[in-house]
C-alpha cells in the first residue's frame, strides 16, 4: 500500500455531525460561568486565623501610631477571685437547658469573662472563644481603649460598693446570703424595646450582688411579662468562688 492509497482509505472515516444543541450548551455555560474569586475560600480555621492576624496588625499599628495608648496591662486582668456560674435557659414550654458555664469576675462594675463553655453548641462556643480572647487581648495591650481608668470612675465605683451595690434607679427588695457572701437583692423592671417580634409586654431583672466581690452578681433572674404574668427565661447561679488572693487593690 502506498501513501496515496492509505490517505484514500483514511478518508473513508467520516465524523457524525455534532448535536444542534451543542452551541446552546456552550452559550448556557457562558452565563453560568464561575465568577472570579478575589480571595480564596476560607473555612473556620482560615477565618479564625484572619481575625487573629487582623487583631495583631491592629495592635501593631495602634502601638506605632499612638504610643501613648499602648500601656501596661489593665489591672482588670489581675482578678482576686474567679466565680463559676451556670446559666440556664427556659423555653416557653417550661423546659430548660444549661446554656453555658461562665468563669468570670467583677472589675469596677464590669464583668470580665475569662472563659465560657457551651457544651451543646460548637458554633456558639467558637464565637464566645473568639470574643473572650479578643477582649482579654485588648485588655492586655490597649486597656485605655477598651476600659479606660479614671478618677471619676473610681469615685463612682467606691460609692457604689459602699452603698451595698445600689445604683441610681435600682430597687432593693431584700438582702440574702449566697455562698457565704452577703448580697443585696436588686430588682429592676422595664418595657421591651420598640421592635418587631419581642412578643412580651415587659421585663424584670433580679440580681443578688455581693459588695465584697466588687458587686459581682452571684445570682440573676431574667423574666418576661406576658399577659400580666412574669415568665422565667434565664437564670444564672454561681456555684463556686475561687479566691486568687493576689490583688485586692481594685476594691475601695
Amino acid at each position: 500500500m502506498n501513501d496515496i492509497e492509505l490517505d484514500e482509505m483514511l478518508n473513508q472515516w467520516a465524523v457524525p455531525p455534532a448535536g444542534a444543541e451543542l452551541r446552546e450548551r456552550v452559550q448556557a455555560g457562558f452565563f453560568s460561568r464561575p465568577k472570579r474569586r478575589w480571595f480564596p475560600p476560607v473555612g473556620w480555621k482560615g477565618l479564625f486565623a484572619g481575625v487573629a492576624t487582623a487583631a495583631v496588625l491592629f495592635l501593631v499599628v495602634t502601638a506605632a501610631a499612638f504610643p501613648s495608648v499602648l500601656s501596661s496591662p489593665s489591672p482588670a486582668l489581675r482578678p482576686p477571685y474567679v466565680a463559676m456560674s451556670n446559666v440556664t435557659e427556659y423555653a416557653k414550654d417550661g423546659s430548660s437547658r444549661l446554656e453555658s458555664t461562665v468563669y468570670s469576675y467583677s472589675y469596677k462594675g464590669n464583668e470580665i469573662v475569662r472563659m465560657e463553655m457551651d457544651p451543646d453548641d460548637r458554633i456558639h462556643q467558637a464565637i464566645i472563644n473568639i470574643h473572650a480572647s479578643m477582649h482579654l487581648l485588648l485588655l492586655r495591650f490597649v486597656p485605655n481603649v477598651v476600659m479606660p481608668e479614671s478618677s471619676a470612675r473610681d469615685a463612682w465605683f467606691s460609692a457604689y460598693v459602699k452603698s451595698g451595690c445600689v445604683d441610681k434607679g435600682d430597687v432593693v427588695i431584700g438582702h440574702e446570703k449566697v455562698l457565704t457572701h452577703e448580697t443585696t437583692v436588686i430588682q429592676n423592671t422595664g418595657m421591651p424595646r420598640a421592635r418587631l417580634g419581642d412578643g412580651y409586654d415587659g421585663w424584670r431583672w433580679t440580681g443578688w450582688l455581693a459588695p465584697d466581690l466588687g458587686c459581682f452578681p452571684l445570682r440573676t433572674r431574667n423574666e418576661e411579662l406576658v399577659s400580666g404574668v412574669y415568665r422565667l427565661t434565664k437564670e444564672r447561679d454561681t456555684v463556686g468562688v475561687m479566691a486568687r488572693g493576689s490583688d485586692t487593690s481594685i476594691y475601695p
Binding site: 492509505l6 482509505m9 483514511l10 472515516w13 457524525p16 452551541r23 456552550v26 455555560g29 472570579r36
Partner: protein, 166 residues
C-alpha cells in the same frame, strides 16, 4: 470576553475540535462534552491561556487533547460510531471499510494516534502538532511515520482483498 466574542470563537473553532475529540474518543457524546468543557475552560477564573504565547487554536486543541486522553484513559477502548451506519441506503461495504479504518486508527498507540489525526484529518502543520502534544517536531515526525507504517500493515489486507479477487 463578552458573549458575542465567546460565541464567535465557538463558531470558528468548534468543528475541528469536535472532529478531533470524536476521533480520539470514538463517541459523539464524549466529543460534545469535551468541546463544551474546552470552551468552559476559557471562562474559568484561573484559565492558563495567554494570547501572547499561544494561538487560541493551539490552546483549544491542547485542552481537547488532554480531556480526550483523560476520558479514554478512564474507560475501555473507544467504540467507534459510524457516521453513515444509520442511513438505510448506505453501502454495506463502505460502512465496513469505515469501521475498519476507524478501528485501526483508534487502536494505534496514543502518541501515534494523536499525531496522525491532527496531521491527516485536521491538516495541522507539524510545528503546531508539536505544540499541542508538547513534544519536539522530530518526535511528531517519527510518530507520524510509525503510525502510517502501522496502518499500512493493518489495512493492507483490505486493499489486497479486492485485487486478489480480480
Amino acid at each position: 470576553m463578552n458573549r458575542d466574542e465567546y460565541l464567535q470563537l465557538f463558531d470558528e473553532h468548534h468543528l475541528p475540535l469536535y472532529r478531533f475529540a470524536y476521533r480520539m474518543t470514538g463517541s459523539v457524546a464524549d466529543a460534545e462534552d469535551i468541546v463544551q468543557e474546552c470552551f468552559l475552560e476559557l471562562l474559568r477564573p484561573g484559565c492558563s491561556y495567554d494570547a501572547k504565547r499561544t494561538p487560541i487554536r493551539t490552546y483549544l486543541f491542547g485542552v481537547v487533547r488532554n480531556q480526550s486522553l483523560k476520558r479514554v484513559g478512564q474507560g475501555a477502548l473507544p467504540v467507534v460510531e459510524s457516521a453513515t451506519a444509520h442511513t438505510p441506503e448506505c453501502d454495506v461495504l463502505r460502512t465496513e471499510l469505515e469501521r475498519t479504518v476507524a478501528l485501526a486508527v483508534t487502536q494505534l498507540p496514543e502518541g501515534q494516534k494523536e499525531a496522525l489525526i491532527l496531521a491527516h484529518y485536521e491538516q495541522m502543520p507539524l510545528a503546531e502538532i508539536a505544540r499541542v502534544m508538547e513534544i519536539e517536531v522530530t518526535a511528531v515526525k517519527s510518530r507520524l511515520q510509525r503510525a502510517r507504517a502501522h496502518l499500512k500493515e493493518t489495512l493492507a489486507a483490505y486493499v489486497a482483498g479486492p485485487e486478489r479477487k480480480r
